[in-house]
Amino acid sequence: MTDRSHTRALVVGAGGLGCPVLLGLAEAGVGRIRLVDDDRVELSNLQRQVLYGVSDVGRLKVEASRDRLERRFPDLSLEVEATRLDATNVSRVLDGVDVVIDATDDPQARFTINDQAVAQGVPAVLGGVIRFEGVIMGVQPGKGPCFRCLFEGPPEPGEVMTCAGAGVLGAMAGLVGHLQVQRALGLLGDRPDEAAGYITTVDGLRGTTRDVPVPAREGCTACAQRTASSFHFMTPSTQENSMSVAIKIPTSLRRFVGGNDQIEVAGQNVREALDGLEAAHPGIKAKICDAQGNLRRFINVYADQEDIRFLDNLETPLGEGAELQIVPAIAGG
């Protein structure tokens, strides 16, 4: 057996996918696992979250999994964190791992993991399961397509189908989780190319899986970040005159701006540009920012192809002719 005792894997999510992923990785001899999840075990989880039991109900999943895994795999070094992964902590959580496995049921987190894994050069396995369907995709940063090449962004609020809303056949989570493990071990192995570049779809009713090749998409903001990150620089924001900024409006928001797909405004940073947009088309800012004026969770804003969450957020400076792209998040589950 391949020695994986020094391999470090990050597992995000200790739910339906996390349970088989953790068991599978530990059994394959992966020596170090970092697990991040902020949920507690509920009775309705036990229909598919096979690592837990009635005695765990009410406990943090990370603590329950630690107990179960440590008893079973005494050599495993498991580092757990009862946190919800988001844009503010993803780079720290990803730091130093050899592979990351997305085992969340949160489509937004899936994109956050994808984007940051690509930016930090960490191989990733994205996955989702719902009803009788599943998807798995391995990503090799800087080589071939990423998850965002396939789906530009996560779903809009309300469009998201989750297991809690639509149901899931229990063993589907097991099947998808173990396929994720297989893909992760592939990315860590001698022929990582065979584990990336396509998405696997699982049809649980027919009992079939299908590998669909995914072309790398030109203009993918996640992949662009990878190529641009080595000479990343800020546009100076000291000039007094206001900059002209083009804001690209997504289909779903065009009805708030008279059907236009692009609006020109003035502004030296993202906040000023959005205020300019609001002045021209009152009501639109509420679709992008919440009552506190912060960016809504399911909205991504890119300033010249870079996610402003990784820059200075709403204070990200904009140069003359800058392009601001608003991307509402797409589905998963």
């Binding site: 088989p20 068991l23 599978g24 059994e27 009775l43 309705s44 036990l46 229909q47 598919r48 979250q49 096979v50 837990y52 039991g53 009635v54 005695s55 765990d56 009803r131 009788f132 297991c163 809690a164 809303g165 639509a166 149901g167 899931v168 056949l169 229990g170 063993a171 589907m172 097991g174 099947l175 989780g177 173990h178 396929l179 493990v181 297989q182 649980g204 009713l205 009992g207």
Partner: protein, 118 residues
């Protein structure tokens, strides 16, 4: 027959599926599956069958000795025995993977929960 309120909560993700519903869950609770094999694949299949509420499961004595406590904690209402007649049977070899175990369990859940086999 109806699901108790505890069962309705525990199996909510199955009941939500139109193709399964409360009727499919009741069929799962009323069926029996024999899992042959002693390795990780067999263990994995049993985990998912237990979690799904398959009423009665028959496994080899070794596996039962190792995991009966874990399974009882996962789902106390499932009976795991080491002998007896069953409606369905899975065979998993010692070199089969957990993936194959989950896949085998899935097949039974689809046959009983969705397609209406007893």
């Amino acid at each position: 027959m109806k699901l108790s309120s505890d069962q309705a909560t525990r199996y909510a993700r199955h009941v939500l599926l139109d193709e399964v519903g409360a009727r499919g869950q009741l069929r799962l609770l009323g069926t029996s599956v024999e899992v042959r094999g002693e390795g990780a694949a067999a263990e994995e299949a049993v985990r998912y069958l237990v979690a799904a509420g398959v009423g009665e499961i028959v496994v080899g004595a070794d596996l039962r000795q190792l995991y009966s406590e874990t399974w009882a904690d996962l789902n106390p209402e499932v009976r795991v025995k080491s002998g007896g007649e069953c409606r369905h049977r899975l065979e998993l070899g010692p070199s089969d993977s957990r993936l194959q175990g989950a896949q085998a369990a899935l097949k039974v859940l689809v046959a009983v929960g969705v397609k209406g086999e007893a």
